[in-house]
Symmetry: C2
Subunit: 126 residues, 2 copies
DNA sequence: TAAACATATGAACAATTATTCATATGAGAG
DNA sequence: CTCTCATATGAATAATTGTTCATATGTTTA
């Protein structure tokens, strides 16, 4: 018996008495709940945006590709800190990079990132 | 002399030699950088979405308002944990609530939240 | 008013995480 | 090959944060 089935069983038999008004809805939602992994990935994505250094980096890169030393200069952050954060962003596939001589040129890896950022900015200015 | 002006001064005089290719662009971006507070607020917003319990709660509420015990049942989380997280979400104005008898009915506070969530879900399924 | 239920909250603990410092790697210039 | 610049990385530290447990608050019902 899967976890989901167990959960439904509980829904049928053990729903608290708090109202009952929502029992049906809850049952329905439960049937269509994204799986654990999906929620995990989603929260990991937002976690990446949930740090002001990283958000600054992403904002900068959203204006165009640039190398690490540009970012260091633009923001008020150590080279080491920027590099560490870029590694995380790269792992999360939010940015990509290429080497060019001594420099490493970073850029936003796809348009979704930019859209999410804009949504966020729109939201905080209401 | 403001911080921003100092920054620009540095840009003119101390830009690393790494390329120079981006100096002009960096200068331009620097002039239009959102302020520290804006970045802070933005990252705080995403931080709220950067936890799988909270994301689950928000997803549930995106399907319709419900009381705490519904959420507890739907997700696999303690009542206490849910309550703590709801407080944070409320503080961040991502959810609102009203009392109805013994229950507290929570709901998403505005459509932006839903949009950002959807964007995120779209992104992770590429 | 007492009992039962729904929710909230404070304190403690464990886990995660961002930054710093020191140093390593990589790449071009001389 | 050596020096210098650009970037990366490991270890240590400090701070933040999510959950749990115990208990408090608030609301209805008997």
């Amino acid at each position: 018996m899967s976890n989901r089935e167990v959960k439904q069983e509980e829904l049928k038999t053990e729903h608290s008495e708090c109202g009952g008004k929502y029992v049906e809805m809850v049952k329905k939602i439960n049937d269509n709940m994204p799986c654990e992994e999906e929620f995990y990935d989603l929260s990991e994505l937002f976690k990446m945006l949930g740090d002001s250094t990283r958000v600054k980096i992403l904002y900068a890169l959203s204006q165009g590709e640039m190398c690490v030393c540009d970012i260091v200069e633009l923001l008020d952050v150590t080279q080491s800190a920027v590099s560490h954060q870029l590694r995380l962003l790269k792992q999360a596939r939010l940015v990509k990079y290429r080497r060019s001589g001594k420099s490493a040129i970073y850029s936003i890896s796809d348009d979704h990132v930019y859209t999410i950022l804009s949504m966020g900015m729109e939201h905080i200015s209401e």
